[in-house]
């Protein structure tokens, strides 16, 4: 890999061996616990950040890495646990508290203002002032210039953020964090949007910061980064601390083993599936602007195909492109032999249904009744005469509620009063009424309690038994392994590989997603 070139950055010139550095941590989290409704996101996690060290944080999607960092920077307040700075307990309730402690964060989602200049974004809230109390624009631009030069970024500091590419925005975000001269720097997947040249530059800067004694917490999904940059590695799983070790003390395989193996309740067991039928969806080498590159995949009738990969690897973008929500720049998609024209209406008419991740925003009209929602996509099919017949609608609604075992007081109940699992069933029912033959699920069990999850799996099973095809996007490796017949794994907006049923395991999925071995 070209990435090997990074090795030329020398870390050996550091003063003292960081691995024997057991001085008081600059910042320490002890026993941090954080609940969200229905989820225990962090369960007594501890983390010590020492000066001159890069501490890598790894774990599956949803392991609690980002939540932990948000506690550290004051975006969330922990329910229990302690934060210590230089060994003394401190309160971090707001972002301002964290700043006082010298914590700066490079966010993944950009904390930038689109119609302010680059310089103003870097110094937002900290603009240098002249004697009159007005912003010293010349000095601000000079300082910003110096920051950008340090990152090798050749951009006019007067340019508005709006119109910069994702990589450039990420670099400005990094410059913003660096400009705070932080003692503790948190990096949340900073290289996800960067090209190789920019990544190289960032790593040089990180090496420089280590020499200056800055403590860094670095969330990563790339094994090569873990071993190139990390002094220590902490593995999180299901919101729990699994291990903290020196980066040299583990192999990539050992780390993967520590990351996988989430415990799940298993009332659902895959029954026998009918042999797959004809190829229903044939995606040939599609690319879309700024999202996915050269993706090919096939889904047959009677088959559940997983689409796995880490957050941001391009899974949702694939679903959007297939459904015609985003325009293709190349490649083509055939559904049951017919070429798709790239509009969601056409996709629906042919028999495709998308069950989106954010069902409350994109899948349901929450204030309308269960019956209204069930019929939303199938009105044309149910009433060919184009005249709405309340009796027939009510009848159809009741039939689907029974078929899907939706728990609701009646057809006229507002959908928002249903539980997450039952809302999800309404979305599925909506596509059943529309006569859908290919269901694309995006995170079908997100925000759904354990019992309903199993029921959703049974429902998906029923769909394929009736001859439908299912493409299931999921962040939960265990879910993909249990439910799918085979799976594609995405990495960096490409398909990194395909796993057939006998190869389908959590470790294999994660290995492909992190691209090693």
């Amino acid at each position: 890999m070209a990435a090997i070139r990074w090795i030329t950055i020398s870390f050996s010139t550091l003063s003292g061996d960081p691995l024997t550095n057991e001085a008081t941590p600059l910042l320490e989290l002890r026993g941090i616990t954080k609940h969200f409704p229905g989820v225990l996101a962090l369960d007594g996690v501890s983390l010590a950040l020492r000066g001159g060290e890069v501490h890598m944080l790894i774990g599956e999607n949803g392991a609690g890495k980002s939540t932990l960092m948000k506690v550290l920077c004051g975006a969330y307040t922990a329910d229990a646990g302690q934060i210590l700075a230089d060994g003394k307990p401190v309160q971090v309730r707001t972002a301002a508290d964290a700043r006082v402690l010298g914590v700066a964060v490079i966010f993944q989602e950009y904390s930038l203002v689109p119609h302010l200049s680059i310089a103003q974004n870097i110094y937002l809230g900290r603009e240098p002032l002249n004697k009159l109390g007005l912003i010293d624009h010349a000095r601000m631009r000079r300082d910003a210039r110096a920051m950008l030069d340090r990152l090798g970024l050749d951009l006019d500091t007067r340019r508005e953020m709006q119109g910069l590419g994702v990589a450039q925005q990420q670099m400005v975000e990094i410059a913003k964090a660096l400009s705070q001269n932080a003692r503790v720097l948190v990096l949340d997947e900073p290289t996800a949007a960067l090209s190789e040249r920019e990544t190289h530059k960032l790593f040089e800067v990180i090496a420089g910061l280590k020499k200056q004694g800055v403590a860094m917490a670095y969330i990563s999904h790339r094994m090569e980064e873990v071993f190139r940059l990390g002094d220590r590695v902490t593995v999180l799983r299901d919101g729990k601390h699994v291990a903290t070790l020196r980066a040299g003390d583990a192999t990539p395989d050992e780390l993967v083993t520590m990351m996988v193996g989430r415990k799940v309740d298993m009332s659902y067991h895959r029954g026998d599936r009918p042999a797959p039928g004809a190829c229903l969806l044939d995606v040939q080498d599609i690319s879309a602007a700024n999202s996915i590159r050269h993706v090919s995949l096939k889904v047959h009738a009677g088959e559940i195909v997983g689409l796995s990969g880490l957050v941001g690897s391009g899974r949702t973008e694939v679903a959007r492109a297939i459904f015609g929500a985003d325009a293709l720049t190349s490649g083509r998609i055939r559904f049951d032999g017919q070429e798709l024209r790239g509009s969601p209406t056409h996709a629906r008419d042919l028999g495709m249904g998308l069950i989106p991740e954010s069902r409350k925003q994109q899948g349901l009209a929450l204030l309308r009744t269960v019956c209204d929602n069930l019929l939303l996509a199938g009105l044309g099919r149910l009433f060919p005469s184009r005249i709405y017949q309340p009796g027939k609608a009510h009848e159809e609604g009741r039939r689907r509620i029974q078929q899907l075992r939706i728990v609701t007081p009646g057809t006229r109940t507002a959908t928002q009063s249903l539980s997450g699992g039952n809302q999800q069933k309404v979305v599925i029912g909506k596509w059943l009424v529309a006569g859908t033959r290919l269901f694309i699920f995006d995170e079908p069990t997100r925000g759904i309690d354990v019992g309903s999850k199993e029921e959703i799996f049974h429902l998906i099973d029923d769909l394929v038994h009736q001859g439908a095809a299912v493409l299931m996007i999921s962040s939960e490796l265990g879910e993909v392994v249990r439910v799918c017949d085979r799976a594609y794994v995405m990495k960096d907006r490409c398909v990194a590989g395909e796993l057939l049923h006998d190869q389908l395991s959590e470790a294999n999925l994660l290995r492909l997603a992190m691209h090693h071995g």
Binding site: A95, V105, F107, P114, L116, L124, E127, L134
Partner: protein, 324 residues
């Protein structure tokens, strides 16, 4: 022949002028077009007295449109400005007559405007209510108060000295123009040369960025709406001087013109896009439109409709240019 054409087309001066043409906003084109049309259809339009009139009339509108720009940059809106301005003319007139002091009258009006602005800001910031609904409510409240305070009539008999603020001049420049210019400079400095200005853009562009910079979103919002109140208080001085008294519906609907001017000036209602220079042009567009239609003896109902059409036209032109 072809070569010669190409040479011309690629010459730097030609390209430079093309870029200049493109950099001129929709509002500037619209202003030029309106001036051209009105000067053709009514001979009075281009007279010195009329142009002076357009500028004078524009001052009050500018005093509302400048803070409205900031409010809209925060993805907010202030519908209460016209009603509040009417109320302030009544307060100013009543207090001035009761005390005999212009300064006390003006102070009372300014105070009333600041209180109302603070009420808008507090409701929007503290309770996270939509600005549209909050300011619609305060519009009603201010209008009702004005009618009660003025007993439904014009409050007459204010001090003659008050008229100077509309008719007087300093160093050969009319007093209202001084006021408008000073407020413009002040708000320009505020928006582009103070830390507060950056917050205004961030309020509309990315509130998360403010929070992570350790800046209070709620206080920032409160100050923006209070600035709106302060400007309405200043505008009340001009308005009272102009109508020589207080009137409970003196500025009814003026917020419509102010919002129109901001929109024509290219300030978008999302993500903190826009700025002050466009608003000045927008005020001139709305002012010229109203003035020209007045000269043509069009009723105000037609004027309102025409301003509405102009807003949509300006937005359409900007959107079309944005796509190209």
């Amino acid at each position: 022949m072809d070569d010669a054409l190409q040479l011309v087309a690629s010459s730097r001066r030609w390209r430079w002028s093309l870029r200049l043409l493109h950099s001129i906003s929709g509002a500037a084109w619209l202003l030029a077009l309106l001036c051209l049309v009105f000067s053709l259809v009514t001979p009075d339009f281009l007279s010195g007295a009329n142009l002076r009139n357009v500028l004078l009339q524009g001052t009050i509108l500018l005093l509302l449109a400048l803070p409205m720009t900031l409010i809209i940059l925060t993805e907010g809106l202030d519908l209460s400005m016209g009603a509040l301005l009417s109320l302030c003319t009544v307060v100013l007139a009543v207090v001035q007559i009761a005390t005999g002091s212009i300064l006390l009258g003006f102070s009372a009006a300014l105070l009333a405007a600041l209180v109302m602005g603070a009420a808008n800001g507090a409701l929007i910031a503290a309770f996270d209510l939509p600005p549209f609904v909050v300011t619609l409510g305060t519009l009603g409240a201010a209008q009702g108060l004005a009618l009660v305070a003025a007993e439904g009539r014009t409050t007459m008999g204010v001090a003659q000295g008050l008229r100077w603020f509309w008719e007087g001049s300093l160093l050969g420049v009319a007093a209202p123009l001084w006021m408008a210019a000073l407020v413009w400079v002040a708000i320009h400095m505020l928006l582009y040369h103070t830390r507060f200005g950056g917050r205004v853009f961030a309020l509309g562009g990315n509130r998360e960025a403010l929070r992570f910079a350790g800046i209070s979103v709620k206080w920032s919002l409160l100050w923006v709406y209070m600035l709106g109140g302060a400007c309405v208080g200043l505008a009340a001085l001009l308005m009272t001087a102009r109508i020589n008294g207080g009137h409970p519906t003196a500025a009814i609907g003026l917020e419509f013109d102010a919002i129109a001017a901001v929109a024509v000036g290219g300030t978008a209602f999302e993500r903190g896009k826009g700025g002050l220079s466009g608003t000045v042009l927008g005020v001139l567009v709305v002012g010229v439109m109203r003035n020209g239609l007045n000269l043509l003896s069009m009723p105000s109902s037609v004027q309102v409709a025409a301003v509405g059409v102009v807003v949509i036209a300006a937005l359409w032109v900007d959107a079309a240019r944005g796509r190209s």
